[in-house]
Symmetry: none
DNA sequence: TATGAATGAGCCTTCATTCAT
DNA sequence: CATGAATGAAGGCTCATTCAT
């Protein structure tokens, strides 16, 4: 049980440390000490410190892509789809809040090619999200007086900002925040 | 006169580099090379690399505090005050977008005591902002069904997120974004 | 039968890699990958990476000793013996050119006691070779105006240098080179 | 006087150690300890350990090129030119015997682009040397029954091999070896 | 016999900072 | 005021070797 999954333990530990102290201030030595293994073990499972970081991005991007795709595929009306997407994005961001902290703060620490991959996948996600906005505008349920990029940024900023203020286990539940932030967004988005 | 320029040049150069490559990936050597001075000169004006970073936080925090205080001091109604505050915050964030990039990404690179000071001053700002929300709720113009921290975060996230998507000099003007994001926020905030 | 092949395959592969990239730049992992076995297998047949290297020296030294001894034992005149020895040394060096590459470049990578053994055996070989020179001088067929060590070095340098310029399978055949280098050597060596 | 020329001291020390123990077995720490400085000092003057190695090749190649060019430029007959070139090559190789030791053993430790440069410059040298052989053949003073590459290798091997047997300060003087090896070479080279 | 996960010492290199000039 | 050579601690990473299975 103890050494059962060294790789997972290393992933868990590194996210924890990267979120708390930042990628640059976390040494490989700190990670292996915290995980109770040696450097050799880490480099047996990961090719570099950068891999440890990229794994976090990969996990989050894969998850978000799957959720978004699944919700859109249900074929619900734009407003309803948007509500589900937004609530899911907030909920998921809370579930993976440590990963999110790293995700938004440490992009510039990725190697160049990894950064490109991350940006490409984020653009894809963005495009799918934007698609819902466009459909809502065509259906006359979303306002059209504000450019799409502004409408999109107005929501994306929320899950992004969570790690700066929200404490899991605090007074406000995960579900409540998800519902409230979604509500605020949809209120602003609504066609008059 | 000359020395004044050197110090300012170092400040300008370091923000630029920190924003582009991150604090950790920017070496003191790169900064002095880009500024066209030598290390000795840098250490004449700044005690450490950390000072260069803190200066950015100090500049932004001072500015935001001044603007917020000034606007509140006008004694306008809550909704009107809020509109001015939000527009100003977005506009200012765009004017200082490179500083903002560093501000939100590099907190964990600050030395411990500097970090505490930054957090204290941000809390103060937050409190003043929150004060407007409370006043608006008491006046019956802002909705009360959503906790204050969520309402605050819902706006703070916007200027924060600007550096991730907004390009100064692009299709959407600084004033337009400020008005649009403020509009969206106030639409959500409005009591029904 | 199978295990025998594994050991030989490892020996073959390691010479190949050592010759191409040098001993230091060749990792044990590369060797086992190229040989299609695992590390455990390698360490089953060899005690260390150093053993793999020493084996090359042992093979070459044994071979050269056998050939030299055999030729000398024929009891031919010095000049004739020398011709046969030189031609054989060049031919053999070409046949084992990869081993030769390693032999001359990687001595300092041997462990101390192994190095001593190699040096002892090379001295022995040298002594036997020198014996032919002395005999030729006594018989009046080899020049005596140049010190023996210089005469010896003048030939040893040739097989040594082969790996720096000769390509097996190129325009000049193995036999031709052997005859030509021997010819050049004997021309210089000849008493006037 | 003591720290007067740290860069030269580092160059001297590193050649010494590379020649004695090999490049791979010499650590940067050993070099700086032996030179009485710290690692920072070394990396102030050299970009990498590889630079320290390449500097040796550069020094030798520059020297050899200069000497060869100068001698050829005198416009003497081929046999006379060849005698001067060979004697100089042996003499110089003895003067720089530690550099030579490294030169011939550590090529494979050079970085890829550096290796290419070294090979290009060696080819140039070879071409100029070969030019003398061709001229001598045309003039009827050098034998023509052996291919040029073999004739060239027959001499190049000698300075190459020096570090394996010659001890400066031993019984045979630098000038004597130079004259003797040259004599042996020319005796073999002579047209009949 | 053979595996390959894990070790741990050591390596090259970077870099913020200092200080004699 | 300003220089830039030199420091020295720390960092990421490699790799020959071991050992439980």
């Amino acid at each position: 049980m103890k050494t059962m999954n060294i790789k997972e333990e290393l992933a868990r530990t590194s996210v924890e440390l990267f979120a708390r102290q930042g990628y640059a201030k976390t040494s490989v030595q700190q990670i292996v000490d915290a995980a109770g293994v040696t450097k050799g073990a880490l480099y047996h499972y990961f090719n570099s410190k950068d891999d440890l970081l990229f794994d976090i991005y990969d996990r989050i991007l894969t998850l978000q892509h799957e959720h978004l795709t699944e919700i859109i595929s249900r074929g619900l009306p734009a407003a309803e789809t948007m509500r589900l997407v937004c609530e899911d994005l907030v909920s998921t961001s809370i579930d993976w809040i440590r990963e999110g902290t790293v995700f938004f703060r440490s992009q510039h620490m990725l190697s160049e090619d990894r950064l490109e991959e991350v940006q490409r996948r984020r653009r894809e996600f963005n495009k799918a999200f934007t698609g819902i906005l466009v459909r809502g505008q065509e259906d006359g349920v979303f306002r059209t007086d504000i450019p799409i990029p502004v409408l999109a940024a107005n929501f994306f900023s929320d899950p992004h900002y969570l790690s700066y203020w929200y404490s899991p286990g605090g007074a406000i539940s995960r579900e409540a925040v998800a519902a409230q932030l979604t509500d605020l967004y949809l209120a602003g988005l609504q066609a008059k």
